[in-house]
């Protein structure tokens, strides 16, 4: 039960002499919603295409339930893909699109008919059987692409930025739809996105990638609250990343001011990176707090105010429900457990080393 459903073993891929994936190690459990998250060009799509069978790794193997499927053709794999640009068949109507995989498998007419009805209901497009592909909006085409994939009852659904082309409101709606679908179908999702909010909202596990390496792998809470390096901290949400000095266990010096923290094991007087989320920065009246500063910028964001505070020669990003006008003198403080300490990368290489064995 705990054995991985899919495992990538030291998968490397080079395009035109450029290393895109470097000995990637990845395990996906049955029924997991795993998201590959990273900036454009970091190798997410390539990873997904290797799992789908559209790309062969240069070295390394891909296992499905322990069986080596590295050389298996895509049509023989128990997984289906939802493509970024939907890739619907424009010469077929909606019903024929959804029926495509089932007809290939030689299912009976009545079975196919029932499946089409069921799938259209699932994606909230009842009665669209006879419509043509071109008469649908982007969001509707995307749902049909999902319906076309899931009628085949795949063990795993691969989704490559499926909401990338939709506008914000529709994207948020579809995120909930996808979570609902996943729970109803009980299948494994491997989801690719460069949108960190989307990843945090939907996933059981997030794999943060950069330049073909896994930077960090964990639950959304882990990734957000305890980023393991500056890249992850910077990529996931807004954050203040500050050059600091670890004085001793549980004490860090930020801009010459000592802040108690909870981290240990970094040694004495070691340079470190400190990550503080904007919502964790506390603003006190002038004279209180540890570090004096001046508000330099403020925007009202609806739920909170977003402020920039000049303190210690650094522009602090602060989210707060209390308004401090521009020019106001404030004192900054941070709760010890809201200070996240990260080792400084010793070399370029280490910055990118995979963290999960």
């Amino acid at each position: 039960m705990n054995a991985p459903l899919i495992r990538l073993d030291k998968v490397s891929k080079t395009f035109d002499g450029t290393m895109v994936l470097d000995e990637l190690e990845l395990s996906i459990k049955e029924n997991e919603f795993m998201t590959l998250l990273g900036p454009s060009g970091c190798g997410k799509t390539t990873t997904l295409r290797i799992i789908g069978g559209f790309e062969k790794p240069d070295t390394g193997r891909v296992y499905f339930e322990g069986t080596d499927i590295t050389d298996l053709a895509p049509n023989k794999r128990q997984l289906n893909t939802v493509f970024q640009k939907y890739a619907l068949f424009s010469h077929m109507n909606i019903a024929e699109n959804i029926a495509f995989g089932l007809k290939i498998k030689g299912k009976t007419k009545s079975y196919i008919h029932d499946k089409i009805k069921y799938a259209l209901k699932l994606v909230n497009l009842d009665g669209y059987e006879r419509r043509s592909v071109t008469s649908l909006s982007g969001g509707q085409q995307q749902r049909i692409a999902i319906a076309r994939a899931i009628v085949n009852e795949p063990r795993v659904l691969l989704l490559d930025e499926p909401l990338g082309a939709l506008d914000l409101k529709l994207r948020q709606d579809m995120q909930y739809e996808l979570i609902r679908l996943k729970n109803e179908l009980g299948i494994t999702f491997i989801y690719v996105t460069h949108d960190q909010e989307e990843a945090l909202t939907m996933s059981d596990t997030i794999v943060v990638m950069n330049q073909g390496y896994i930077q960090q792998m964990g639950t959304p809470e882990d990734i957000y609250n305890e980023p393991e390096n500056a890249f992850v901290a910077d990529f996931i949400g807004d954050s203040n990343i500050i050059d600091s000095l670890m004085i001793e266990d549980k004490l860090v010096e930020i801009f010459g001011v000592k802040f108690p923290c909870v981290d240990t094991g970094f040694g004495r007087n070691q340079p470190v990176d400190v990550v503080i989320r904007p919502e964790d920065v506390e603003l006190h009246p002038e004279g209180e707090g540890r570090l004096p500063g001046v508000v330099s910028h403020i925007i009202f964001k609806g739920v909170h105010y977003e402020m920039e505070v000049m303190a210690g020669g650094f522009e602090w990003l602060v989210h707060s429900t209390v308004c401090h006008p521009v020019g106001a003198k404030v004192g900054i403080d941070v709760d010890p457990f809201n200070i996240q300490i990260m080792k400084k990368p010793e070399s370029e290489d280490e910055e990118a080393v995979g963290v999960n064995g």
């Binding site: 789908g52 559209f54 053709a73 895509p74 049509n75 289906n80 893909t81 493509f83 970024q84 640009k85 890739a87 619907l88 068949f89 424009s90 010469h91 077929m92 024929e96 495509f100 995989g101 290939i104 498998k105 076309r148 994939a149 085949n152």
Partner: protein, 270 residues
């Protein structure tokens, strides 16, 4: 208003080179030598000699259209498979002969295929049996295929390159093997290219008289030759125009039937 004036040269061109000649053809076709209205020129198609020329034309043009399609489809697939840069170079190679005069190219083949022509000399040099197809229907079909093949390849190639890789991958993803992907996705999606390719080969093949003149040596009469002779040899413009009109209507009808069949076929292919 600006747009209308931009279209003016085109309209002048259309009027000068298409509409006016067509009106002349109609006028001559529907009158006799004295200028009186008659349907005789149209009815002349029913004479046994002309019917057999028309049937022969039909047979040879259908045959060469079919051969063009069989050759062009795999060619277009190969072209699509090449890298963009290489692909467009090869397409250029295909178009290149089309810039050479049609008459010259066909005359070149006349020399090449001659009983004592270049090809037979080379074959004889290697002690191989010569080929004797000049002045036969086979030579005419060969000439048609040679001349019209690019008109089949290009429209098919143009639709094939528009089929996205992800469409093909989606078919594979849904369980289709290579053959199923071809017959269920690639081929039906390329139908518009096939239709325009067939039109662009069939129509000139049906009406040609140059190819049959040069490669058929005047032994094989096609409907094009019959019409041509009315204009040149017998100088009966009325009869020539009348026959042209009949041929035009004939082509129109076959195109309509073909388009209708194609629509039905598309539904059935899925």
């Amino acid at each position: 208003m600006g747009k209308k004036s931009l279209a003016a040269p085109y309209i002048v061109w259309m009027a000068g080179f298409i509409v006016i000649p067509l009106l002349f053809v109609f006028y001559y076709g529907l009158t006799d030598k004295s200028g009186a209205f008659t349907l005789e020129n149209l009815a002349a198609i029913a004479s046994p000699e002309k019917v057999s020329a028309l049937l022969r034309s039909l047979k040879l043009s259908v045959l060469s259209t079919a051969i063009c399609l069989l050759l062009a489809y795999p060619l277009a697939m190969i072209l699509k498979g090449l890298h963009v840069k290489k692909g467009s170079f090869v397409v250029f190679l295909f178009i290149l002969p089309m810039w050479m005069n049609f008459l010259l190219r066909t005359m070149a083949w006349q020399t090449l295929l001659d009983r004592n022509g270049v090809i037979n000399n080379v074959l004889a040099f290697f002690h191989l049996p010569g080929i004797n197809i000049i002045n036969t229907q086979a030579a005419i079909v060969f000439g048609m295929v040679y001349n019209f093949l690019p008109f089949m390849v290009l429209p098919i190639y143009n639709v094939l390159i528009k089929i996205g890789d992800d469409t093909v991958e989606a078919a594979r993803d849904l369980g289709a093997d290579g053959v199923q992907t071809f017959f269920r996705v690639i081929f039906p999606l390329s139908m518009p290219g096939i239709v325009s390719g067939i039109t662009m080969v069939f129509v000139p093949a049906l009406t040609t008289f140059v190819i049959s003149d040069l490669l058929g040596g005047g032994m094989v009469l096609l409907i094009g030759n019959v019409i041509e002779q009315e204009f040149t040899f017998t100088a009966n413009w009325n009869l020539g125009s009348g026959l042209s009109l009949v041929l035009m209507v004939f082509i129109l009808i076959s195109m309509v039937l073909f388009a209708k069949y194609d629509k039905d076929g598309e539904g059935a292919a899925v």
